[in-house]
Amino acid sequence: MPQHDSAFATALALILDLDPTLLGIVVLSLQVSLSAVLIAALLALPLGAALALWRFPGRGVLVVALNALMGLPPVVAGLAVYLLLSRAGPLGELGLLFTPGAMVVAQVLLVLPIIAALTRQQVEELHLEYREQLRSLGLSRLRMIPTLLWDARLGLMTVVLAGFGRASAEVGAVMIVGGNIDGVTRVMTTAIVLETSKGNLPLALGLGIVLLGLVGLVNAAAHLVGETARRRLG
């Protein structure tokens, strides 16, 4: 399996040489996925918490829909954003298609349901425990949201990481709305697809290893933060 050996060698060489093209791809990948996760979390955390606290007609449907959207195929999300942002689309004026901005939008669409659905679950459980005490303190449901989100923070970190995993792993959405343009919208996953189809397997595998390493690094950092907090809070 000389090809696999050379894949590791290629990966190592890519990293050690600090290949500028690779560096550009890595930076763009992280920029896109981290922005998407950040935006999605800012929207989805309060949304999930609100869904946990309020009872209203149609809530069940919304919860099921959100759960189902966790499995939204990236290509479908990509297609939807593509139609939205294409010249003839309702948001065509923005000229976002085939820019990193469009990729962020598509990934937000993928990550938001995951964070919202899992947040709802976690906050609902915590709320069951805290409800009487918080009401006794005179808190309205709106004011309970930050309290519950903060006290669920350890679990929610894992939730946000799951969102980041989804964003950094998907290829369908960024391929469609980004277009895999060299130096503009090429990210790790689309680069791997391209190199594979070109038959440049060592480079594709090398990129794959770098991607895995990056995801591992982000998760390790989060784990470290979580464990420290857990030990401090008991």
């Binding site: 425990e129 009487e132 009401r135 006794s136 303190l137 006290d151 809070l233």
Partner: protein
């Protein structure tokens, strides 16, 4: 602590009237047709066998649950209230942060919160545990922290739902002392317990519930020496009543 004692002591607390109060859950009446009036700043102990509706009465009176029948009515301005639960619910933060949180909710200016919280911790013998996570404290310490939190809210009416049922004697003593302190500060107290000795130690008056009904509401001395109902008499003799 004395400065805190003086802050909020208007002459009287609005009387609390429960008017035909009832609570039905899935067709099952858990509390029915309960009417009584609490005034002054007495210590009222709620007694009764398990399932008599003691906790439910507390929750309805405190406003945590809406009654299915009847009304909870304050004759005048609704006073500041607090409740201490059987199992203290503490936030996943340090002991100190649990108190500053309550003060923040209460609207205390940021700069004063730490000082007040510190004082309350000292008062309840938790000074050394300020930075410990509240959730890893012992049961007795957690309940003392819950009492300290209630103390900071300066309630005029305090509800305690079997606050000592899971505690050892030393911790029970601490809770009872705290109840007495609240009483001296001019707080009306409604506390449920299944410990008759505790009721004898603390009660100014007694509410006796059985099977979701109010059977007696009388001064403690009369209740303990001459209960008016056979159920209460049996309960006082230590017989099983339901």
């Amino acid at each position: 602590m004395n400065d805190m004692l003086q802050v909020h002591t208007p002459a009287s607390i609005a009387p609390l009237e429960l008017d035909g109060l009832g609570f039905t859950h899935r067709g099952q009446p858990l509390l029915s047709d309960l009417s009584l009036r609490l005034d002054g700043c007495r210590r009222t102990l709620v007694l009764g066998p398990n399932g008599a509706g003691k906790s439910l009465l507390m929750r309805l009176a405190h406003g945590l649950l809406p009654p299915t029948h009847g009304r909870v009515r304050w004759q005048g301005e609704v006073p500041r209230q607090a409740m201490v639960f059987q199992r203290p619910v503490l936030l996943k933060r340090s002991a100190l942060a649990n108190l500053t949180y309550a003060l923040a909710v209460h609207g205390t200016p940021r700069l004063r919160r730490r000082t007040l919280a510190r004082q309350a911790l000292e008062r309840f013998g938790l000074g050394a545990l300020a930075h410990r996570p509240a959730r890893v404290l012992s049961g007795g310490e957690q309940q003392r922290l819950a009492l300290a939190r209630a103390w900071l809210l300066e309630p005029r009416m305090l509800f305690l739902d079997e606050p000592t049922s899971a505690l050892d004697p030393a911790a029970i003593k601490a809770v009872e002392d705290a109840v007495t302190d609240f009483h001296w500060r001019g707080t009306r107290i409604l506390m449920s317990t299944h410990d008759l000795h505790q009721a004898r130690r603390l009660a100014d008056e007694v509410i006796f519930l059985c099977g979701g009904r109010l059977l007696e509401h009388s001064p403690a001395e009369r209740f303990f020496t001459a209960p008016a109902t056979p159920q209460a008499a049996a309960f006082l003799r230590g017989e099983l009543v339901w």
